[in-house]
């Protein structure tokens, strides 16, 4: 049975998922946005930051998101930022398909992550990711423009948003320019921890 196509991101209460400039990644705003993630046991394990960490629902959400993912798709902007930041043992541990105009041989990392570079569009990237994922799900990892492109094209089955208690004021909005006349949502799950609220929506065509 084929898996679902989903995304899962952390968003500020005013709708931003990243600062405007990559140089602000790891700045104060982004750290506040992601604050719920850093203390979690799964996050520490997956990035080899050492043992310990919290094991509540926030941790479960991170682990479940990882475990359901058989392959990821991402845009060039996210890949370029990550290439600088990820450890050698990149945190995906599955095939990752990068939508880009750049032609490049697959890049295999220790720990099971292989980046493949797809030059013929999002539907091709998704088809390759589905084939690689088997009966697990395909995650549209990011960034925002890539998630929105898949959403507007009707290719996303559901998405989760962790709403952080922070206001950005400026930056990159997840839904900037969304085709609101096409995308209808159904709230299918919601739960909160002290730090963040996890919302899951199913996507329906209008």
């Amino acid at each position: 049975m084929a898996g679902k196509v989903f995304s899962s991101v952390t968003m500020s209460l005013d709708g931003f998922i990243a600062p405007e400039s990559l140089s602000e990644l790891m700045g104060r705003q982004w750290v506040e946005l992601q604050r719920w993630v850093f203390p979690q046991r799964f996050f520490r394990e997956n990035l080899h930051l050492g043992g310990g960490g919290e094991e509540g629902r926030d941790n479960d959400v991170l682990r479940e998101t990882f475990e359901r993912t058989g392959a990821s798709v991402m845009g060039k902007r996210m890949f370029d930022a990550g290439e600088e930041m990820w450890p050698e043992d990149a945190p995906f541990h599955t095939p990752v398909f990068v939508v880009t105009h750049e032609e490049r041989e697959p890049w295999e990392r220790p720990g099971g992550t292989t980046f493949s570079f797809v030059n013929d569009g999002i539907e091709s990237a998704l088809a390759q990711a589905r084939a690689a994922a088997g009966d697990r799900d395909v995650r549209i990892a990011g960034g925002g423009a890539t998630i929105l492109e898949f959403l507007d094209a009707g290719l996303v089955d559901e998405f989760s948003i962790a709403v952080s208690p922070v206001l950005f004021g400026s930056g990159i909005r997840l839904f900037d320019g969304v085709d609101a006349g096409r995308v209808a949502l159904e709230q299918v799950h919601a739960e909160s921890s002290d730090r963040v609220t996890h919302l899951t929506y199913a996507v329906r065509a209008r």
Copy 2:
């Protein structure tokens, strides 16, 4: 004991609380945004729409918000829209202070709502609302620009947002231009129904 200053609005997942134009109020998007409200018993009672209606947590939230409110403050745009739409027995049943440049005598409605028109700014309106509210809370009712003005000025203690499962794409954003460097938030409550997620944040100065 003085009450709190709060706001409570319904927001689309992409951050909008109203369409761009007043003529679109009651249009499809706005109806989808507010869909969680219409079936509630309290809403029906308060607008004299007849008996019946749902009595779950969504209804409790509406009733609790009404009951804690000893006075409201609103901007001229919201008042102008409401003046056309509210029934003669306006749905506030408390003093309402309208921040406006227009000079006008207080406008008393049947059922306990009196609109007073304040020409000397938001702090004056708030002081008058606090005095009128006694030990109950003051609600900054709207619109978005007025809520943001109070928030940026450090005059809001907490706010609640009902996040509806709808994408607007365009319209009036609640937090457009927020002074993000000044406003820090703490998530103090979150709960969901099938239709909507209610989030409450305490506001802290940075």
